[in-house]
């Protein structure tokens, strides 16, 4: 009898509890939805925190340790938000140069790799000579990554700049940083690049490039490109799935590092020097 009474009490308690939880859940859910959107935006800013989607290489503990190491490195260097198409200045210590310091300014034409292997390539033309340097994001020899112009381009990779006219990737090494007003969206640079006449490094007519002017090729090139295209691949749902990290996992990853990232963001803002954009001439 006594036992029964106990059980009935517990169930009553449970019922009361569940109704409270339901209400709380409802309020929470709307908040969570907003939070979720913010957290998921991290994937554009910090894409290297997402692991390699290949199932055969994945291990949760390794990924966690790797993320911890990345954050530890970020506590000493402010790696700002940047995209392919942004103009960066990278300062790194160099045992070969006289001042032991090396600075390179250029446009980011490619970002590859994830985790501690994340890399980016900068390209510039100095003295009519095209130069590219590959940097590792978490290399401890890098002293400073400065963002000179924050913008996106129409394509995910700008490798075609290698075959473009030199004026499209010539940047002044002493360029002053342009600061965007707080909270403004990242501008998209919609310039269409003009390529040099063939021969090229790659067959650009087959790559569906958006940021390129008319290639001015004979008709047979386009016909061939159409013949070798694989239009069905975009419908392969599983191929797409195996190249991405699902939303649930992304949320888990970014929720884990959210507070630390925000702390670093605040810290980075303090470290940043205040540089003003020169006012443009009005008349």
């Amino acid at each position: 009898m006594l036992c029964l009474r106990k059980i009935s009490k517990t169930t009553k308690g449970l019922r009361v509890y569940s109704s409270v939880v339901k209400q709380a859940n409802h309020v929470k859910r709307t908040n969570i939805n907003n939070l979720r959107k913010d957290v998921l935006e991290y994937r554009h800013v910090y894409p290297e925190f997402l692991p390699d989607p290949n199932i055969e290489f994945r291990n949760t503990l390794r990924e966690k340790l790797e993320r911890n190491d990345m954050l530890a490195r970020r506590s000493h260097i402010n790696i700002p938000e940047f995209y392919v198409g942004s103009i960066l200045a990278v300062e790194s210590s160099d045992p070969h140069s006289l001042g032991k310091m090396h600075r390179f300014v250029g446009i980011c034409i490619q970002r590859q790799g994830c985790g501690l292997r994340a890399q980016f390539t900068l390209r510039n033309i100095i003295d009519h000579q095209g130069i590219e340097i590959l940097y590792e994001m978490y290399d401890p020899a890098i002293q400073k990554v400065e963002i000179l112009r924050l913008e996106k381009r129409l394509d995910d990779e700008l490798l075609y700049l290698r075959d473009a006219l030199p004026e499209y990737c010539t940047f002044d090494p002493n360029m002053e940083p342009e600061i965007l007003p707080e909270g403004s969206p990242i501008p998209i640079n919609e310039t269409k690049v003009k390529l040099k006449p063939r021969p090229w490094l790659e067959r650009w007519e087959r790559k569906n490039l958006l940021g390129v002017q008319d290639l001015e090729l004979p008709e047979k090139f386009y016909k061939k490109a159409e013949a070798v295209a694989k239009p069905w691949e975009k419908y392969d749902l599983m191929k797409e799935y195996r190249k991405t990290i699902p939303e649930e996992e992304q949320l888990e990853i970014f929720n884990e590092i959210d507070s630390r990232l925000q702390k670093l963001h605040v810290q980075g803002k303090k470290m940043k020097k205040r540089v003003f954009v020169k006012p443009t001439k009005l008349a």
Binding site: E63, D69, R73, H76, S93, K100, L116, D139
Partner: protein, 365 residues
Amino acid sequence: MALVFSNVFAKSNIKAIEDKFFKLSIICSSNQIRERHVLNPKPRLRNPTWFTKKMIAERDEQVTPENEKFIQQIIQDKYSNVSPKGEIPGNIEWTPELQRTGVIAKKIGIYPLWLKNGKKIQTTLLQVLDNHVIKHYLPEEYDPPRKGPIGIRNKKACLLLGAEGGDPSLFTKDYCGLFKESGVIPKKILARFFVSPNAALPLGTLVSAMHFQVGNALDIRAKTIDRGFQGVMKRHGFKGMPASHGVTKTHRRGGNIGGGGEKGRVWPGTKMPGHMGNTWRIAKGVKILRINRKYNVLWVTGQAIPGETNSICFIYDSKLPLRKPEKPLPFPTYLEKVDDDTPEDQYDESVHQFGDPSIVYAEKK
């Protein structure tokens, strides 16, 4: 013989003759040995004593969810507190002749570390699993399944270690019986390690990543990635044949495999297509660069540790003569209680820690 025949003819009974001949034939055959005689017969292979059937075939009894939960609770109650059965001798000094136990680990991935001189090196992460001592064989007790032609002189003791606790209701009764003595939860992986007699550990002892020290060398034994049946180009790195210039149907083939005449046969050991991988290999003398105490992870040099990610490997102290440790090792294993003040990570001197400021090169004068 003549006497026998004369006797037979004297009786002159056909049936009797037949009988006699039959007997004769038996006598003759018993003298002649027609079996193939082997001088040194191959030793019969026996499985080690712990090699019993592991998993039950299929659990088809339909247990209700409540009862399932109850069974899990019982398991939890039974195996939650395991303590070593016996005292660990803590006063033995380590000498290079002594052999400590190895551990079971899992290869969890590869990522780069940077040295203090700015050089990048690839490291493999090995997670030391929950290694418990399951059984201990004395030197005279352990009976190896394969015996060489000469007996082993300095016999060593043997420890059976288990890792990765599993659900006991999925293992067979025989298999669970192996763990009765030590009292630990039945483990999915078992491995035996030879140790010096005084390096033996009491049953139920936990061996952690702190068993090893930063800067020392290890030997890692594991099964290589199984690549299946492969051609000669992938398996042995042959060059193949040209893609054009009149070559037909032999672009990836090995070509000639030998001459004719006296040696007109395929010589043993000729490199040919076949199964590649899934063999035991040892990566010798890899150095420990970093140890994480909290997650029991070792960072070792190199990316060529055999096996794929999430596969099991066995770690031993290196036997390479030039890479023997200089400082004394924790013997028989790391015994001190780990307090929270000590840092989570231990780094080798040459490694740049991610929490340190950026590298700056000093100017030469």
